[in-house]
Amino acid sequence: MQCDVCQSKEATVFLTQIVEGKMQKVNLCEACSKEKGVNDPTGFALADLLMGLGAAQEIEKTSSSLKCQVCGFTQADFKKTGRLGCSACYAVFTDGLSGMLKNMHKGTTHTGKAPAALQERRAQGEKLRALHDNLHQAVVAEEYERAADLRDQIRRIEAVP
């Protein structure tokens, strides 16, 4: 079996770690295991090591020649660095990334802080959607007075840039 890090020497160190019920495995050769500090339990987290490796392989499995239109980053670059090129890359490489993020994190959806301006826009979007729904119902029910009122409300919101 080959070493997962250098891909050349024979692997002699086999590691398995269970983090929150998820099993992670890695095979290393003597030299790489030393270099990664496997012997030192205080300075070593298998997850950190796997992030660099697994991430790139995951991306590779998905379609072959993706390239970010904004910054020109390719999946080969990702494989090399384990980092992305710009914020737009997340949308470009979304297929490969989503599986990887699932293994890496507690969840797949952000539930924490959001920029206030964005939160407002988000809240407004929801309000608009609700008004449109109500308007549709009002029209179907032929309640034209209510519909006109709703239409005005929507216009007022949309008038604000």
């Binding site: 992305l84 914020s87 997340y90 990887m100 969840g107 959806t109």
Partner: protein, 373 residues
Amino acid sequence: MKFSRIIASTGEWLSGDGPHRNIVVSSRVRLARNLHEKPFPGWAKKAERLDVMRLVKDAVENLPEMADSYSENLEALSPLEKQVLVERHLISREHAAKGVGSAVVMNSPQTLSVMINEEDHLRMQAICCGLQLDMVFGMINRVDSELENLLEYAFDPTLGYLTACPTNVGTGMRASAMLHLPGLVMSDQINKIVNSVNKIGLAVRGLHGEGTEAIGNLFQVSNQTTLGETEAEIIGRLNRVIEQVLEHEQNARALLANRKSITLHDQIGRAYGILSHAYSMSSKEALNLLSIIKLGVDLGVFPEPCRFPVDELFIETQPAHLQKGAETQKMSADERDSLRAAIIRAKLSSVKEPDIAHLQAQTEDPAEEKHDE
């Protein structure tokens, strides 16, 4: 503000006070932020990095929190000055390796620092002493909320804040506490604790973060994941775990004092003896021995006023701080070791011999004996 002023004062996180100060050296929260559709620093060309730096630096310098700030481009700092900032945990080792196109801005109490163009466009952190992660998060969160009005952040409604490395995506937050755990190390329980903390998705690392050795019995506990939980949930989880570790450390210390009192007295006495009589000392040896003296202060073997000078030595004996104090540009390792030993000797000359009788009096307490059975 001049660099010399940074050097002159030790920074609030070392000299201040906070809950569980004896065991929790410092609490730190770092947020990673990037600008919308601008290439991340690792991928950006020099001109793009400079553009981002100017934009971000301008915004950060004008924050009310940064009214009296120190702000510098990294290429303007000497390797020694960068290392001083690393030893104070004000910039990361990765950031110290950067040059043109990167910068750092920090406030005068050295509790807030913003790294510009590290791995992400912005890495901002707040640091304070003792266990107060919630307070520290509040500090950096305010800075972040002010900056989001001035800069267009890369944010996705599903993935949260977008970062160069997928390991930071979501909250972009890394909260960590530096713990001093000599009791768990001396009683051989540390590996067990490290492993169980790792199992619940938190990371334990050495003095200077990822991939560094645990010297001086100092360990950093931090969250490993950033997506799927709110900032408050992550910090709550971390707080609960740290409190558990604190309890284990306190138990380990009590047990050592009761059952292995001779070993403990011996270690404290030897550490004191070597530190006050050595003429050459490596930074690693110094930290390991100072850790034992710090434990001695916690146990009342050394009087409480010794705490600050001992804590200060943890920073002052680091390689760059030594050289900065000596004001010579280049020193050999041997010269540093002998200077280090001299500084320690001078400082410890005001610290009286360990009062082992104080420890013995504690361990002979009959209530403790009964508890021991």
